[in-house]
Symmetry: C2
Subunit: 320 residues, 2 copies
């Protein structure tokens, strides 16, 4: 690389993803200077202490001033306000992107808040942990993960160049980049991410309130499947509240389908229709094999997240 | 240890759990000889090749002959038939147990099929992987996992001694042993294991059939939460069909509660009630912290199952 892809990056909102973008970009030499804006005084103090930003401020416009890339990394429903606050600092022709988990609503909010002279290229890195805050980020978060960009319907050369440059940026951070229509993104993610989170939140809530089983027992015997759900259901509440509100239509649509299917499954159990259960359970197993075949995960038994406690493949799974 | 806890163990059904019991018992020196019965010729051939049994047969009675511990490790709905087949080989006073994920129905089936002279102590090790077969087992599977025993309501000394000896056996295999009423077991496991599996099977099925999103896309972007469900939904179809049929009442009861809660959540999304969503999502996060505090899992970011591909904590999680 002859030099950084962006001379100066401003990150508005420095939580898990914002701080990971900074760390990864610095590690890759993809940016020169880094400015951070965060509304939280505690977060700003943490960023200063961690020392990975050249400038830290409460004012998005101040952070954005002089930047050729501005990354909005606040919760989805806060994007519009953050963009309005940053707008006075944006120079014409620069690239503005975001990392929100919903793209349709965010693209609209950014377009409404920002001057027409900037190139808005909404984005979504499909990566994260259940941790949050400026100290939760790490440089490897995007390695071998997908980042989806949802460019506007524009064919002019400067905009195309902005999309290409942002693609190079995410590639430098280790991500595989895919371009997609915003509404298609929101449907795909409703299925692969938003619905799974909703279900996980729901089942953990149900288990906590169930009579006849104490919360202690639920925790104690969580290795039989439940624990995987608790991990997902420990994700940032603000972020996920916003995701469901901002992607309401696609989430409710897929949730409707899920509920229909669950009713059929419930009926099959009630009437002892073992063949129907077996057919579904065999089909879902094939899908898992498809994911493994697609290289999304290793087929070999992995030393899972409990590997330190017990050196056994996947011992927190099933048979329960 | 002055000698093995059981001089001769017979394992009826040699899949993931059966073979793990054998490997773990051998590693711990908890058994002298091991006999295996399996209905599948392919499985028997594999057991012979793997070389961990002293005798391999298709006939449960033959395997059981001379054993002081008989372990039934077949799918839950096959327990009764396996027990009837083994009954002629059982000597009076020996201990009979099982590893099924449902205890009420299995306890009944065993009691109905076996002579009153044997000590039936139903059991359930809460451990497993999504793999199956005689070659899927490993000696460490039960390390630091719970094994629940659901003894009969008997107070006579020989039976109490049988329970204690079986407790010693599982402890030697590395498990933490808990005694519990069979029906309470079935309710606890309905929440912590059976419902999570049902939900996982269902969501993977829903995703596979959804219009507008290809199966390839579902697989490609599964890192946002969905992938955890596919792992659970890859569990053995026969085993899980049997679990739902054998624990119908408790599963339908907890499923009913789950569905009620999901309707309320759906309504909150539809009406944009962000506060309700936030409240639930904060509460479930606390439950996760409870599990971590209870020592069921490490609080630190773990190098998860994808650690080999990308050395980053938990990169297959959330923010999506």
């Amino acid at each position: 690389m002859t030099g950084p892809i962006y001379a100066r990056m401003a990150v508005i909102g420095c939580g898990l993803i914002g701080s990971s973008v900074i760390r990864a970009a610095r590690a890759a030499g993809a940016v020169g200077e880094v400015a951070v804006a965060d509304a939280s005084e505690a977060a700003r103090a943490q960023v200063v202490e961690l020392g990975y930003a050249d400038r830290v401020t409460a004012d998005p416009a101040e952070a954005a001033r002089g930047a050729d890339l501005v990354v909005f990394a606040v919760p989805v429903m806060a994007m519009g306000e953050a963009a309005r606050a940053a707008a006075p600092g944006l120079a014409p022709g620069i690239t503005v992107t975001d990392v929100g988990s919903v793209k349709g609503a965010v693209a609209e909010a950014l377009a409404a808040a920002l001057p027409a002279t900037v190139h808005i290229v909404p984005g979504h890195p499909i990566a994260g942990t259940e941790q949050s805050g400026p100290d939760a980020g790490f440089a490897e978060l995007f390695q071998n993960r997908w980042t989806i960009l949802t460019p506007q319907q524009r064919t002019d050369a400067p905009y195309q160049e902005a999309v290409e440059r942002l693609t190079d940026f995410w590639t430098a951070l280790g991500a595989n980049v895919e371009l997609m229509d915003a509404s298609h993104h929101d449907l795909v993610l409703a299925v692969t991410s938003h619905l799974p989170h909703l279900i996980a939140y729901n089942i953990v809530g149900t288990a906590a309130d169930l009579e006849g089983v104490t919360r202690g027992e639920v925790m104690k015997y969580s290795a039989g499947g439940f624990r995987d759900f608790t991990r997902i259901a420990a994700s940032d509440p603000t972020m996920w509240r916003d995701v469901f509100l901002a992607n309401k239509d696609a989430v409710l649509e897929t949730l409707g389908r899920f509920t229909e299917d669950l009713q059929a499954l419930s009926r099959a159990i009630r009437w002892g229709e073992g063949d129907k259960l077996f057919e579904l359970f065999s089909r879902t197993r094939d899908i898992r094999r498809g994911i493994i075949a697609a290289g999304q995960e290793s087929a070999a038994p992995n030393f899972g997240r409990d590997a330190r406690a017990a050196p056994a493949p996947d011992t927190n799974r099933q048979q329960s």
